[in-house]
């Protein structure tokens, strides 16, 4: 068998020809030509809701030729916060990470500006509420995009029958399905009287006084409706003001009508309170009602979600948005931005709202009257006023308008509920305020 030797001249010629062929060859677009994208989404409570996200992402990925991988991360035991902290430290991880309310500011240095995504989205979907701007904007830079999955208003969910019987309030008449609210008389004073009446009737309002978000959110909206701020927008401590004193006096009166074990409530306690039929009202998104629909239908058909009572400084409702952030160290930022635009399209948002049974809430003004909220039941229309369709409330978050990095600490250290509880348990008002002032001084670290 003869063996042909390759000469040096032949080798050089062959190499040159192959290189030329490779360079001049037409670009062949493969199945995943636009690269890979790794996404960390919040693991939804509602069964089947994750599938909607997966379908929407896959639909976009097929069109854009991007290979995607999705991790659904539970918010139980702060797993999302831990993931965000670990990825920000390691400067490595998902390209897109869904993060809870305060986290865009907490990791502002590590997040890609998303003005080029948000500005067209606002033109398309309508203005976003003030809380979204407060939590996701820094120095004119959009740090993240409001995510529909997981975002929620924690307004009152009342028992129609018990409110009528004990407080003489017809919540359906006050917030009729399909038309604007007639809630001028739904004030903090009315609320307090209703709380007292229901407590005397044996069905106290189920409002927590613990350190978890449901308790803090309600306290936050009450304080804001009195204009009470522990730290103002400039970062000055404003604990010892008349507004804070007024809010504290009101909160103390309300605490007297709440269940005695409310200081140890967590975010599940109020849900259980409503579902078991022990209370006339809780402050929660419709998840409690959804569970009641399955486990206690006789309770569910008496539930009505509606607006927050108004205080001297306005009607504030606790709004807790989730955000999608793109890490600045992400490997495929352009693809990430393109996906966020897709996930924020009106059709995608409608799908999120529909599969979550109305739980998920878009932050955009034009998308508060979707048919899911009008049709969900029983009773039909129970969720109509959940997204504040007539924009009669100021959607807010507890501890705002303090600079977010300070407010985040007021929020998670539950300073509002703690100071209220101290006052209710026997400390003088000035002692409780002095304690809160000391706490706020500690939150000023930079």
């Amino acid at each position: 068998m003869s063996r042909k030797r390759l000469t040096r001249r032949q080798f050089v010629a062959a190499t040159a020809m192959s290189s030329a062929a490779l360079i001049t060859a037409p670009y062949v677009r493969g199945a995943y030509a636009a690269g890979k994208l790794s996404i960390g989404f919040w693991d939804h409570w509602v069964p089947g809701a994750n599938q909607a996200s997966t379908d929407l992402v896959n639909e976009w990925a097929a069109k854009e030729k991007v290979e995607v991988s999705i991790d659904y991360i539970t918010s139980n035991n702060k797993k999302i916060e831990l993931t965000a902290a670990a990825e920000a430290q390691a400067k490595s991880g998902h390209d897109i990470l869904q993060m809870p309310s305060w986290w865009p500011h907490a990791y502002s240095e590590n997040l890609e500006p998303l003005n080029d995504v948000m500005e067209p989205l606002i033109k398309q979907n309508g203005e976003v509420n003030g809380t979204v701007k407060y939590l996701a904007q820094s120095g004119g830079k959009w740090l993240a995009v409001p995510a529909t999955p997981g975002s929620q208003i924690k307004g009152p969910c009342s028992r129609i029958d018990l409110m009528k019987k004990y407080a003489n309030i017809d919540v359906q008449e006050m917030y009729p399905a399909g038309s604007p609210p007639k809630a001028d008389n739904w004030t903090m004073d009315t609320f307090l009287k209703a709380a007292e009446a229901c407590q005397k009737g044996g069905f106290p309002f189920g409002i927590g006084l613990g350190e978890t978000t449901d308790s803090v959110d309600t306290a936050g909206a009450i304080f804001q409706s009195f204009g009470a701020e522990l730290v103002n927008a400039k970062g000055d401590i404003t604990v010892k003001t008349d507004q804070v004193r007024q809010a504290m006096e009101y909160y103390k009166k309300l605490i007297a009508f709440l269940p005695p074990d409310a200081p140890s409530w967590d975010d599940a306690s109020n849900n259980k309170w409503l579902i078991s039929g022990r209370g006339a009202l809780i402050m929660n998104p419709p998840s409690a009602w959804a569970v009641a629909k399955r486990d206690a239908p006789q309770v569910a058909e008496q539930c009505w979600t509606h607006g927050f009572p108004a205080g001297p400084k306005g009607r504030f409702a606790p709004f807790l948005p989730y955000f999608w952030g793109v890490w600045s160290f992400g490997k495929n930022k352009e693809a990430a931005k393109s996906l966020l635009v897709h996930l924020s399209s009106p059709s995608a948002i409608e799908k999120f709202v529909s599969v979550s049974g109305g739980y998920d809430l878009p932050a955009y003004a034009n998308l508060t009257k979707l048919k899911t909220w009008a049709e969900e039941g029983p009773p039909k229309g129970t969720l109509f006023h959940y997204p504040d369709p007539y924009h009669q409330q100021t959607l807010s978050i507890a501890a705002s308008p303090a600079p977010p990095k300070i407010a985040q600490q007021i929020y998670f250290q539950a300073t509002l509920t703690k100071m209220g509880l101290r006052f209710a348990r026997g400390e003088t008002l000035e002692q409780a305020l002095a304690w809160a002032e000391g706490e706020c001084e500690g939150f000023m670290r930079s």
């Binding site: 035991n77 702060k78 916060e81 831990l82 902290a85 430290q89 305060w102 986290w103 907490a106 240095e109 613990g210 350190e211 978890t212 269940p259 005695p260 074990d261 409310a262 200081p263 140890s264 409530w265 967590d266 306690s269 259980k272 309170w273 078991s276 022990r278 990095k405 985040q408 600490q409 998670f412 250290q413 703690k418 509880l421 101290r422 304690w435 000391g438 706490e439 500690g442 670290r445 930079s446």
Partner: protein, 312 residues
């Protein structure tokens, strides 16, 4: 001692051997083999314990934004915080009370189990170890349902006797009582098994001699059992103190530190400050504060153990 003898033997044999056999000798030594056998564990400890420990030391010296070095600034800041001193006090109350009760219950139950004959003893030993082998997060969830603010099974039972309802997790005293109770329930079997092993190693002759001398049961415990178990008591106490001080899951699941921060421990408060409030340097600082407290305890206890070891 055996190791030295072997090495000496090898050295004696190797005197006439050629120079290249040094490495073979080193590899053949028992201590070298032991080192290589423990190497995977050493590497794991370096990776999972030492590296995070030094990294948290580094983190504790940064400002909140983690952009500049502040030295001991975070520690001096902590010392001025009322809540921090409350956490120090609570951690000491929690750890010391829980360890005392765990040791006491473990000691008493170990005696009972020790006196149960043969086969039955095995069954009891198995049953009593159950709390220790269930993952604490899972068993604490069961406790949470028993203490549940609104639907407590304990309160339901107490109501038949006209007692309660007791705010198990809503009042400072009861909340502290509850978290300590669960910790004792979880940790007592560890003491039980260690003490049982120690009891079995006390020679019967000592008790026989004590009986001949007319010692009663209390004197037997005081003059025979306790001195013979001193080292094991010291070591288990130290070990349990470290683990109890660093406890996280029980408090996190039952009270999240409430009401009004009165059940926070170092670990739960560090989590709240570091992760939930996004102040990782301060969180690292809080968790590092356990080190000096535990180091002092370890020095005292281990010094005592080694002193008695030398005396023996």
């Amino acid at each position: 001692m055996a190791d030295v003898v072997v090495e000496r033997g090898r050295v004696a044999r190797a005197t006439g051997a050629r120079k290249g056999s040094g490495l073979r000798n080193a590899l053949g030594r028992k201590s070298t083999v032991a080192f290589f056998l423990t190497l995977p564990l050493i590497l794991l400890i370096v990776l999972l314990v030492l590296y995070p420990a030094f990294y948290s030391l580094y983190l504790a010296t940064l400002n909140k934004a983690m952009t500049k070095f502040v030295g001991l600034g975070n520690f001096t800041f902590l010392f001025k915080r009322e809540t921090f001193w409350m956490v120090v006090k609570q951690s000491c109350i929690f750890a010391i009370t829980a360890v005392i009760f765990k040791a006491l219950i473990g000691f008493i139950v170990a005696h009972f189990v020790h006196n149960i004959p043969g086969k039955k003893q095995r069954k009891w030993r198995g049953m009593l170890l159950v709390p220790w082998v269930i993952p604490p997060a899972m068993s604490t969830l069961a406790w949470l349902w028993l203490f549940d603010p609104s639907y407590s099974a304990f309160n339901y039972t107490l109501s038949f006797f006209g007692v309660g309802p007791i705010p198990w997790l809503g009042e400072t005293f009861w909340a502290r009582f509850s978290v300590i109770l669960v910790n004792v329930w979880y940790g007592a079997p560890f003491f039980l098994i260690m003490y049982l092993a120690a009891l079995k190693s006390v020679p019967d002759q000592l008790y026989e001699a004590a009986a001949i001398d007319g010692a009663n049961w209390w004197q037997k415990i005081w003059y025979v059992t306790l001195p013979m178990m001193r080292n094991i008591i010291a070591i288990t106490t130290l070990f349990s103190l470290i683990v109890t001080f660093a406890n996280f899951d029980i408090v996190r699941i039952l009270t999240s530190g409430g009401p009004l921060d009165t059940t926070h421990l170092f670990a739960t408060w560090a989590f709240q400050v570091g992760i939930q409030s996004s102040d990782i340097p301060l969180g690292a600082c809080v968790s590092l504060f356990m080190v000096p407290i535990l180091a002092v305890a370890a020095i005292f206890i281990l010094r005592d153990v080694s002193k008695r070891g030398n005396e023996a």
